[in-house]
């Protein structure tokens, strides 16, 4: 099989790709909670395709064998989870050098992302892509998640995950639109400025609790419009704009002569 694939790579590649694409779209839940190829389950073919994609798109900075360069880190041993996070959120490949890589529409589809991940995972052992069960908010405890989030995450990402500033133009992004899988992967791999929360310091169950807490935030606030959940500054701004605006408007009406 391996030999076959290697020999007929060129001829059958489009067919294989098409079949895989059909399989992926065939799975109903795939669009909702996709599970790209894992390092363990990835075929040699995936790894080879991944290597080609890597060399065409990533090697300029990360080096032809992902050994890293002066501008970009080595990817040996970062694991499939790191690649899946960076590529599926569009952070990699980077468009230009800046304080930090910005999330944007991903450049690769899920399959290609999986192939890239499989390739990098083949270079050295690293964290794997989490399973659906590991990131299922329904199974987590939002209360435990709240207290974990408070201690480990809120100082950068804000109390409800609205994001916040770091030094020198870097920032911790808002988490509301981040997929559960990506949240898990970010904790596990510590992308860019973010530190690593490995499974010893924050256990997989605790990570799921944190996902459950963030999931609760998608309901908005019991108090009404959240005003960005940015805390007292935005509340003060709205008090002046809406509150004082309406009140002074009313005062002007009261003080004006009737026509």
């Amino acid at each position: 099989m391996k030999a076959l694939a290697a020999r007929r790579h060129h001829r059958f590649a489009p067919v294989v790709l098409l079949l895989l694409a059909l399989l992926v779209t065939g799975g109903v839940y795939a669009a909702f909670a996709p599970t790209p190829a894992n390092a363990e389950t990835a075929s040699t073919e995936d790894i080879e395709t991944g290597q080609k994609l890597f060399q065409a798109n990533c090697a300029t900075c990360h080096g032809p064998n992902a050994e890293g360069s002066s501008t970009a880190p080595s990817l040996v041993g970062v694991g499939a989870a790191a690649v899946d996070f960076q590529v599926s959120t569009g952070r990699m490949p980077m468009q230009m050098n800046g304080p930090q890589a910005i999330a944007k529409p991903p450049q690769f589809d899920e399959e290609q992302t999986g192939q890239l991940a499989a390739y990098v995972a083949s270079l050295g052992a690293g964290p794997a892509i989490p399973t659906d069960e590991q990131v299922d908010a329904e199974l987590g405890d939002p209360s435990s998640g709240a207290s974990l989030f408070r201690t480990n995450c809120a100082m950068c990402h804000n109390a409800v995950g609205a994001g916040g500033a770091l030094s020198e133009g870097k920032f911790a992004p808002p988490l509301w639109d981040t997929s559960e899988r990506n949240i898990y992967q970010a904790m596990l791999t510590g992308p860019q400025s973010m530190p690593v929360f490995n499974d010893a310091t924050v256990t997989p169950e605790e990570k799921r609790d944190i996902i459950a807490y963030l999931d609760e935030q998608r309901d908005g606030s019991a108090g009404g419009l959240t005003l960005g959940s940015l805390g007292p500054v935005s509340e003060g701004l709205w008090a002046w704009i809406v509150g004082m605006g309406l009140l002074i408007g009313a005062a002007v009406w009261i003080g004006a002569k009737s026509s």
């Binding site: 209360s143 809120a154 419009l225 009313a250």
Partner: protein, 575 residues
């Protein structure tokens, strides 16, 4: 409604008679019922503050029914799901209970908090109105002091209430307070123990703040509000300049019925708007921050808006100012300057300004007609400089949010504000003073030459001239009815026998200050100047030789202007 002679027959009459025989309320009603209040929207700003305070009391009483001011730790079971099973203080647990299980509880909490923000915003805008129109001048200096005290009490009321739910955000606010208190030389640590009943946070601070928040400060505010309003009644309200409005009268509508309806109605409008805000806009969702725990902190850790200037001041100060002095005593100037000296300077300015201005003006008369801000350029400039400093500090206190929303580096923003806090107020003063002087010149122009009408007239000699319409006497009165103060004159340093007199240096200092205030000034137009302007135009026209046709034409203007004939204008005769 008198008791002697004809006895009352109606029910209301009998009740009034009963009351009057025991309270002599009749004379009070006679005195106050038809008291006149001038009408202007800016006179309602103080009312917004008063009404927010009443709403704070109403909603506050509701909240005290359910709030437990205790730091005893409990394991909470109840909504929301994100708090179920956590260890927290009674204060925090009862706040959750009020918000999620008491009907209307969250609404009352949100109205209370919005009302607190509006209370301070209304006080600040009211103070701005009083400052920029010169309403603090004699005889109202003492009432300005009462008002400034009320503003400071408002800050303290807000801060103590903000800390009551015992959440992470306000807990970190208290921790910063503790850090600031500890920086005070000599007594810092003891003062910290005094406040917290021992080490931070201890288990006393919430009950103590509760007493301060619901008893001590509201009591003081009520007493000072009563004094503030007593002064308003005693002095009668100020009024804006205009025809018929003088320092000897007050023009407006009677308290009963017009002002009773307008002011009473406004209370309900303020309450209604705050209810609208409380219903639709979430504020201080403490369950997002979680119960106080000394380890966590969240991004966007800021106080309510009126304390942001202190936060910004702390953020801007470079750390180098801390030092250890002789004897191994630590002096934290990096905290003392921004957290104690800066607010000290700001509040001192507010407290002394009325007396400073009176001293450099040597003005002993009562003032009841307000100034137009442009007519006192230096005061207006100083006010703008003060506001600029306040706003820059508040923005500096929000630098992390500015960084994320405008994609800038927080370090760069901090450096920009470090420069702006010195340059901004100066620039604000300079540009405002220029603008005021410019507006005064514009007023002079208008009075002397009238409105541009946009109507162009061509003369036989081919010259085009725009027709100007003179101001009616009300418009003109508004622009000429002020006095441009002149700098103080001081007696010479030595008397006639060459003996140096005492107090000369002090007088000289005062004179310098007075020059700063009144060196640049624009005098109002006098009737003589107006007459001269018109006849001057005529002279010009004749002397210039080329406008002969104008003078013999339909109208004569000042300079190159042409004034439209106007029957109502009582200026010099034209033609």
């Amino acid at each position: 409604m008198s008791s002697n002679g004809n006895a009352p027959t109606t029910r209301a009459g009998k009740a009034a008679d009963y009351l009057d025989q025991r309270t002599s309320v009749g004379s009070a009603v006679k005195e106050f019922a038809r008291k006149v209040f001038p009408d202007h929207w800016s006179f309602l700003l103080g009312e917004i503050a008063l009404y927010s305070f009443i709403i704070l009391i109403i909603t506050g009483v509701f909240l005290t029914m359910f709030f437990v001011p205790s730091m005893a730790l409990v394991e909470y079971h109840g909504p929301p799901a994100t708090m179920d099973g956590q260890l927290m203080s009674d204060a925090f647990a009862s706040t959750l209970h009020t918000s999620f299980e008491v009907r209307g509880g969250l609404l009352m909490r949100q109205i209370h908090h919005w009302a607190a923000l509006i209370f301070m915003a209304a006080i600040v805008t009211h103070m701005m109105r009083v400052f920029f129109t010169g309403a603090f001048r004699k005889p109202r200096e003492l009432n300005w002091l009462v008002g400034t005290l009320l503003m400071i009490l408002g800050l303290l009321a807000g801060f103590s209430g903000y800390s009551l739910p015992d959440d992470v955000l306000s807990g970190n606010g208290l921790r910063i307070t503790d850090g600031v208190v500890k920086s005070i030389p000599l007594i810092g640590s003891y003062l910290s123990y005094f406040i917290f009943g021992g080490e931070f946070p201890g288990d006393d601070i919430i009950p103590r703040l509760f007493t301060v928040h619901i008893f001590l400060i509201p009591g003081l505010i009520l007493a000072l509000v009563a004094l503030h309003l007593f002064f308003v009644v005693l002095h009668k309200h100020t009024q804006y300049p205009g025809g018929g409005r003088t320092d000897k009268n007050v023009v407006g509508y009677p308290l009963f019925p017009v002002y009773t309806a307008k002011a009473g109605g406004f209370f309900f409008i303020v309450f209604g708007i705050l209810a609208l805000m409380g219903a639709t806009m979430a504020i201080n969702n403490v369950w997002s921050y979680g119960p106080f725990d000394p380890s966590p902190v969240s991004a966007g850790a800021q106080p309510d808006w009126y304390m942001l200037f202190l936060e910004g001041s702390l953020r801007l100060m470079p750390g180098g100012a801390e030092f250890v002095m002789w004897g191994d005593w630590t002096v934290s100037l990096n905290v003392l300057i921004p957290a104690v000296v800066v607010p000290g300077i700001l509040f001192t300015f507010l407290f002394v300004y009325p007396f400073l201005e009176a001293a450099v003006t040597k003005d002993k008369r009562e003032h009841h007609v307000l100034d137009r801000p442009r007519n006192v350029p230096v005061r207006t400039g100083l006010g703008v400089a003060f506001l600029t400093a306040f706003i820059i500090l508040a923005l500096a206190g929000s630098n992390d949010l500015i960084a994320t929303h405008f994609h800038m580096s927080i370090n760069t923003i901090t450096w920009v504000f470090r420069v702006l806090i010195f340059v901004g107020p100066w620039f604000g003063f300079w540009i405002t003073k220029r603008i005021c002087l410019g507006l005064q010149r514009k007023d002079r122009e208008l009075v002397l030459h009238g409105h541009e009408t946009g109507r162009i007239v061509r003369f036989a000699n081919g010259e085009y001239i725009e027709v100007h319409r003179p101001l009616d006497e009300q418009e003109r009165w508004l622009r000429v009815n002020y006095s441009a103060h002149t700098p103080l004159e001081v007696e010479p340093a030595t008397d006639s026998r060459g003996v140096r007199r005492k107090g000369y240096a002090q007088d000289k200092r005062m004179q310098r200050l007075s020059r700063f205030f009144y060196e640049d000034r624009i005098e109002p137009v006098t009737p003589a100047e107006l007459a001269a302007a018109h006849s001057h135009g005529e002279h010009d026209a004749i002397a210039g030789g080329e406008h002969v046709e104008i003078t013999s034409g339909a109208a004569v203007g000042g300079g190159r202007d042409l004034v439209e004939p106007d029957a109502e204008n009582d200026g010099p005769p034209r033609h």
